[in-house]
């Protein structure tokens, strides 16, 4: 084994060069790196959010709310279709997951059933429609979503939410955010850097459903208190300073889906407001509604809360206007960018957040560097003291191993996290174990009466099985850890995994070549470790 075949030497040199070349970008100052020729690798280790600072947000699409909204829309759809077809009905109700309606005239029953069956709901990607329409007793028709529809709707909501979130975050000016889908109804947002996590959360999490609704001024305060509200009205809480709540017409004059533009602006007094513009259809509707209701108040409603309720002074024909309310510079700016990006299809909830300040991250990097340096220094010293020259060989193999780990991680853009640093330290220790096994085996063989060269050779050969055996267990543990979970622990598993693989290679092959050279150069008859 110690006979140095050419491929072994080439492999060792290649790995050392690989490690050095791919690790170098991490060690060079940025100015030197930029000046380096482009064929050299420039990729650095990417640091996890716990080291560079930043926010990790796991958002969950509220599937219950989504489902409820789809059912409400379904009910309204049934009402509209039947009205258009001039079919008289009664008893249109939404109970649980089912919409049911009674067709008054038995002569229209079959017609209504056919009509609803053909026109209600939407096509599914796999074919078929997303609703079941059934005839039930007493001239009732029952409509419900097929089970698959909920999943499709959730996935669709996630896809649309991701697009909208991306627009919002880009507008906020975050650097290199990553937005990815997780599972059926979750979205992971990773935003490195110092941006304010609470502002980020607020901008992402606002559903931003904007509607302009008329205020129902026919109701007295007593009616409102007593809860005598007509079925096509609703009571919504208010954030203006005038009233705690308003009674509004349910039907919106216009909604945020028709906005083409929104921007933070100022009114004549200099207080922040939001300027907006509607598209053609929105402008037309807004003009009609305002001209019909001059002198009456209407409410600007965001996510079921009234922002303000101005009185219509005259018809507004141009399709543009301003929203006034209790805004600060920042909140008007943020709300404008949220409105422009469009409403989320369903509310999002934060189910996990990890934010590390840049300062803390920098401290962690320092601590990590220090502990790696100290750990490595202790290992080097110890192994040199313990095994002398051969310890030096092991230390060299270890150094190349370190380079290779960092090189591989830089090459594959693997992320180094704080626990990953611990993984790195542990890996160095495990790497030494391979050399210890080899050297102890050599000592055994010498004790058994073999000459130095043959003992060294047998040491490598016979320790190999044990080394592989011993490392398989670590690999298994690391793979499981990687599948377990969240970012930081994944980082630990990854460094451990890469480290174990490279360490078997370096500890066995590199020390072998070094010891081979040593034998060739010094023709030693004894081993320095016996």
């Amino acid at each position: 084994m110690l006979a140095l075949s050419r491929w072994k030497v080439i492999l060792v040199l290649a790995s050392a060069i690989f490690g050095l070349v791919f690790t170098l970008p991490n060690l060079l100052p940025p100015s030197v790196l930029e000046a380096a020729p482009s064929w050299l690798p420039h990729d650095k280790l990417s640091l996890g959010l716990d080291l560079r600072g930043g926010s990790y947000l796991l958002e969950e699409v509220d599937t219950n709310a989504l489902n409820q909204e789809r059912l409400t829309n379904l009910t309204e759809d049934v009402r509209a279709r039947l009205r258009v077809a001039q079919i008289v009905f009664s008893d249109l109700t939404l109970a649980g997951q089912k919409v049911s309606v009674r067709i008054t005239d038995p002569g229209h029953y079959d017609q209504a059933f056919k009509l609803l069956g053909n026109q209600i709901g939407e096509g599914l990607p796999g074919g078929g429609r997303d609703v079941n329409v059934r005839q039930t007793a007493d001239q009732h028709i029952e409509i419900s979503f097929v089970p698959q529809a909920a999943r499709t709707a959730a996935e669709d909501a996630v896809t649309r939410s991701i697009e909208i979130i991306r627009k919002r975050i880009d507008a906020l000016g975050a650097t290199n955010p990553s937005i990815t889908r997780q599972g059926a109804n979750r979205i992971v947002i990773e935003a490195p850097g110092e941006s304010d996590p609470e502002r980020l959360k607020a901008v992402i999490g606002k559903t931003a459903k904007l509607t302009f609704q008329l205020v129902d001024t026919t109701l007295s305060a007593d009616d409102m208190k007593a809860g005598r509200i007509p079925p096509d009205d609703e009571v919504l809480p208010s954030d203006d300073h005038y009233q705690e709540a308003y009674v509004l017409k349910r039907r919106a004059m216009v909604d945020g889906g028709m906005l083409t533009n929104a921007a933070g602006s100022h009114d004549e007094n200099g207080s922040p407001n939001i300027a907006f513009a509607f598209n053609g259809m929105g402008a037309q509707r807004f003009a009609e509604a305002t001209s019909e209701n001059v002198g009456k108040p209407f409410a600007i409603v965001l996510d079921k809360r009234v922002i303000s309720a101005p009185v219509i002074r005259g018809a507004i024909p141009g399709g543009s206007g301003e929203i006034t309310g209790n805004f600060t510079e920042e909140s008007s700016h943020d709300l404008a960018l949220i409105l422009k990006s469009g409403a989320l299809p369903a509310p999002l909830h934060v189910v996990e957040q990890h934010t590390v300040g840049a300062e803390l991250g920098a401290d962690a990097v320092k601590a990590g560097q220090l502990s790696i340096l100290i750990g490595a220094a202790l290992i080097f010293t110890f192994i040199l003291l313990a095994y002398g020259l051969f310890g030096g060989f092991a230390a060299m193999a270890l150094a190349i191993n370190g380079l290779m780990i960092v090189g591989v991680m830089s090459l594959f853009h693997a992320t180094l996290t704080l626990p990953g640093v611990a993984g790195l330290v542990l890996t160095l220790a495990v790497a030494v174990d391979a050399n210890v096994l080899i050297y102890e085996r050599m000592r055994d063989e010498v004790r058994g009466g073999r000459p130095a060269m043959s003992a060294a050779d047998a040491g490598f050969r016979r320790a190999l099985v044990t080394i592989i055996d011993a490392n398989v267990t670590t690999v298994v543990a690391a793979v499981i850890m990687f599948n377990l979970g969240a970012g930081p622990v994944k980082g630990f598993a990854l460094t451990l995994l890469i480290g174990v693989l490279t360490s078997v290679f370096t500890a066995v092959l590199i020390t072998q070549v070094l010891i081979g050279w040593w034998f060739r150069a010094f023709k030693s008859k004894t081993l320095p470790i016996v």
């Binding site: 611990a422 174990d433 096994l437 499981i480 850890m481």
Partner: protein, 320 residues
Amino acid sequence: MWPLIKLLPKKTNVPFVSLARVFATLSILAVIATGVGAVWPGLNLGIDFKGGTVLEFNTGARSADLAKVRSAVSGLNLGDVQVQRFGADNDAVVRFQTPAGADAGVVATKVKGAIASALGQVSFLRTDVVGPEVSGELEWKGLAALFTAVGLMLIYIWFRFELQFGLGAVVALFHDLTLSFGLILLLRLEFSLNLVAALLTIIGYSMNDTVVVFDRLRENRRKYKRMPLRELIDLSVNETLSRTVITGLTALLALSGLAAFGGESLRPLSIVLLFGIVIGTYSSIYVASPIILLWGMRRDDEPARPIGPQPANARAIPKP
């Protein structure tokens, strides 16, 4: 006298097996103590598994007025809120559970607002929020990971060694896991995902150490056919002793650097790993091997032919 390895006696004859009874008793006591500790005072679950929020903030030049923070937060109806100093005078940590039904992210934002308005200038160094949806999943995933790891090690051992070896290794594995868990209980460490990672690493290391001793035991069994099992075990442990000591020391040295300088958040992880290495080493000597002794080892039907790579000029078998 350098290198130091020359100082180690060439051949050690520590009668490990004869001390096995004493250590087995100690081990059993420690395992029982862990069992008691798991019931009372119980595991200090971190937010990864329990859900909730941890906020760390810094008040700059002024020291943090914790009483103010407490009164500001108590108005928010969050139930039990812990406010503690964290390291320095101007550093503090607030922990609380998200009330049922509330949006964890929204509650965290509210609390941050309350702290900021109570103290004026504060910078939040760290915000960790884990909602109940996620913590439930993580709890399940963490347990599943530990069980899978143990299961896979079993399969591995089963392939690699015969039954009685496997049994010893498994008992050693559970022993190490239990006692590491015991340490976590004893030090009241917050049980987090990081610690699950540490436990998984310990499973790997403990196995590794046991495998090395067993490999030698199996080899010696073929070499010294007539040697009594007790002596065979002592011999094998003694032969691998220098490796065990050196590898263990290297790992301890490296990790002690991590424990001392790696910072607050890595300390629990490194402490548990340090302990795991000590206990993993101990168990391969005092738990895994004695189990084999207890169980006995079939040797009669062992074929005389040596398996695996053997030098052509095999040494003469010394008389036991």
